[in-house]
């Protein structure tokens, strides 16, 4: 019988010492940013019913979720996302609260992905949700928070990218094709697959919309994108989306992150979920987006509470891994090791506490002889030994 008791499952890993310290440092920093702005932390269960993640706008492909069955035979999943459980919780337990509600969280999500590709199935995320306001001010607050978060990372550079799903939706509304075709077009724009997108649009016949859709994946960059987009396609919905995005772009650019904010109108991921602005954040040295979010005004109504919402999540693991290349997170050895000679073990603990209350880090020695303590302290890089007997003597190493 092959036993699996000495390894962790594929896509998961143990985090030791500096890895753990890096993750906690990022989480603490982000929580600090959010809590200072009035966000309250929540924790949702690690297990949820499958149904929470199986609706039109909150669809997760079933092969990407870890599933199990509860004692009553009901299908459950290991949380693949935090926003949907928070929407469920808000729509049920917080519906009578004064809006807007500002929530933040730090918890892992689990997604089953093809193995051996250098990706994890367990992802620690820290994020915020601002629920109950559809205003431009709410939008700006979330974008400002995203920028503050990205600029707090110890990396060489970052980029916040804004898109608006409304521009794409306006276009495909005027495209004469099936829902499947729209989904295919969306998928190809999302991955900027220019050749396949052209082939597919060729098969649908020539029109203003199809010509505009061909250019959509290339509509990314700075402020020049707005002019190009307006020239490319215009109707009431598309213009409204562009106006909203342009206003936000100008406002967040004025926050002082020049050249760090860009536009990509080809950000069309999860079309049924997002209803307005979509954001992604990137940092130097990490091959995938580390921040992702947007406006999702219909999600809560699916849980029976009609409230607009916006937010984002940060992939803490990716950020921590990238920061570790630049910052030393190695936990320092304690300042002092306290050794209680025979009969003075309790006094040693009391002395250790006293040191700690003075702001000194101290561990108590568990060895029987001072020679063992000296050897251990040298190996661990502990600089001072306090020996407790009827008096206290210090040895500096």
């Amino acid at each position: 019988m092959k036993r699996y008791d000495l390894i962790t499952p594929e896509g998961t890993r143990d985090l030791l010492f500096e890895e753990c310290a890096a993750v906690r440092a990022v989480e603490t920093r982000l929580q600090g940013i959010f809590k200072a702005k009035g966000y309250s932390e929540v924790i949702t269960p690690g297990l949820e019913f499958y149904d929470v993640f199986n609706m039109k706008s909150r669809y997760f492909p079933q092969e990407t979720m870890y599933k199990l069955v509860d004692g009553k035979g009901r299908l459950m999943v290991v949380r693949p996302d935090s926003t949907m459980p928070i929407a469920r919780m808000t729509a049920t337990r917080l519906r009578e609260q004064t809006m807007p509600i500002r929530l933040c969280y730090s918890q892992s999500v689990y997604r089953s992905r093809p193995g051996m590709r250098g990706r994890s199935d367990e992802i620690r995320q820290t994020g915020i949700e601002l629920i109950g306001s559809a205003s431009r001010r709410a939008e700006l607050e979330v974008l400002g928070n995203a920028l503050e978060v990205l600029s707090s990372f110890n990396t060489d550079g970052f980029r916040l990218e804004l898109g608006h799903i409304g521009y794409f939706k306006a276009m495909v509304n005027h495209l004469d094709c099936s829902a499947d075709d729209v989904e295919n077009i969306r998928g190809l724009i999302e991955v900027k697959n220019y050749p396949a997108l052209n082939d597919l649009l060729d098969s649908l016949g020539d029109s203003d919309v199809s010509r505009a859709l061909r250019r959509l994946p290339r509509l990314f960059g700075g402020a020049e994108v707005f002019e190009e987009a307006a020239a490319l396609y215009s109707d009431n919905d598309a213009d409204a989306a562009l106006d909203e995005l342009k206003g936000l772009y100008e406002s967040v650019s004025a926050l002082g992150y020049k050249d760090c904010v860009t536009i990509d109108l080809g950000l069309v991921n999860r079309m049924d979920y997002y209803t307005g602005t979509v954001i992604k954040g990137y940092i130097e040295g990490c091959g995938d987006a580390v921040l992702s979010g947007g406006r999702y005004d219909r999600l809560l109504s699916e849980f029976g509470c009609d409230a607009p919402a916006t937010g984002f999540a940060v992939n803490v693991d990716s950020v921590a891994r990238t920061e570790m290349k630049k910052v030393n997170f190695k936990p320092a050895a304690p300042d002092v090791i306290v050794f209680g000679t025979d009969g003075y073990e309790t006094e040693a603990i009391v002395h250790g506490r006293r040191l700690i209350s003075e702001g000194i880090t101290a561990e108590t020695a568990v060895f029987d002889t001072i020679d063992e303590v000296r050897k251990y302290a040298a190996l661990k890089g502990i600089g001072r030994i306090d020996i407790v007997s009827d008096r206290i003597t210090s040895e500096n190493l």
Partner: protein, 217 residues
């Protein structure tokens, strides 16, 4: 933020024919590929001042680009369909052309009868999705080497494989039953690199596309 100085644009090339064709293309664009021609056993090679070429197996090209250690990659559509992954597919380079096909012993009618067919292939995902679209259950056997052997030895009813000229099939008494899709070399990009190094990458792509266009004309 200026990261242009950080490191040259890193392109992963699929070793072998796609590598030669890509190098020829880069030379037409005026890049000095001397280091690639005299590579010896080196795997990371400078091309001019602004580009660095990495030589890898097809599937590894995708892995390197997906994880962002290479900014761009040149890889066959066959590998892209088989492996999938998260990256941008920016352009069809027009070389390395061939097709995926369903093939088997000459003269046999593959679709007759009600038995479950066995398919031998190096591309199990391509084969599976092809038959899924036809709502057919098939048994798929993964073969690493010459897939043509499988129907000849009686292991499978047919194969799903890349067909370029069809000569190998013909010489072994096999024929194409059905073409599945065309294949050619693609330029792929890491999703973050394209955003953070937009100017450099777009410049290279427009150079490539102009060259490809002028070649067609």
């Amino acid at each position: 933020m200026n990261n242009n100085a950080a490191r040259p644009l890193r392109i992963a090339l699929t070793k072998g024919r796609l590598e030669k064709d890509t190098v020829a293309l880069l030379e037409r664009l005026g890049y000095d590929c001397g280091a690639v021609h005299e590579k010896g056993r080196k795997l990371i090679l400078p091309v001019g001042d602004s580009i660095e070429v990495v030589l890898a197996k097809a599937a590894d090209v995708i892995t390197y680009v997906e994880n962002g250690v290479c900014d761009l990659g040149v890889v066959g559509k066959d590998t892209i369909i088989e492996m999938g992954g998260k990256f941008f597919e920016l352009s069809d380079l027009g070389f390395g052309k061939c097709r995926f096909a369903l093939a088997g012993k000459k003269g046999e009618s593959f679709y007759d009868g009600t038995h479950v067919r066995t398919i031998a292939t190096k591309y199990p995902n391509v084969a599976r999705s092809f038959f899924e679209k036809k709502n057919m259950d098939v048994d798929i056997v993964k073969i690493e080497g010459s897939v043509e052997l499988a129907p000849l030895l009686g292991l499978s009813h047919a194969i799903v494989d890349i067909v370029e000229t069809g000569t190998t099939l013909k010489e072994n008494g096999l024929e194409v039953y059905e073409y599945i899709c065309p294949i050619s070399a693609r330029l792929i990009a890491n999703m973050v690199s394209l955003k953070l190094r937009k100017e450099e990458i777009e410049e290279l792509i427009s150079q490539i596309e102009n060259t490809l266009k002028s070649k067609v004309e």
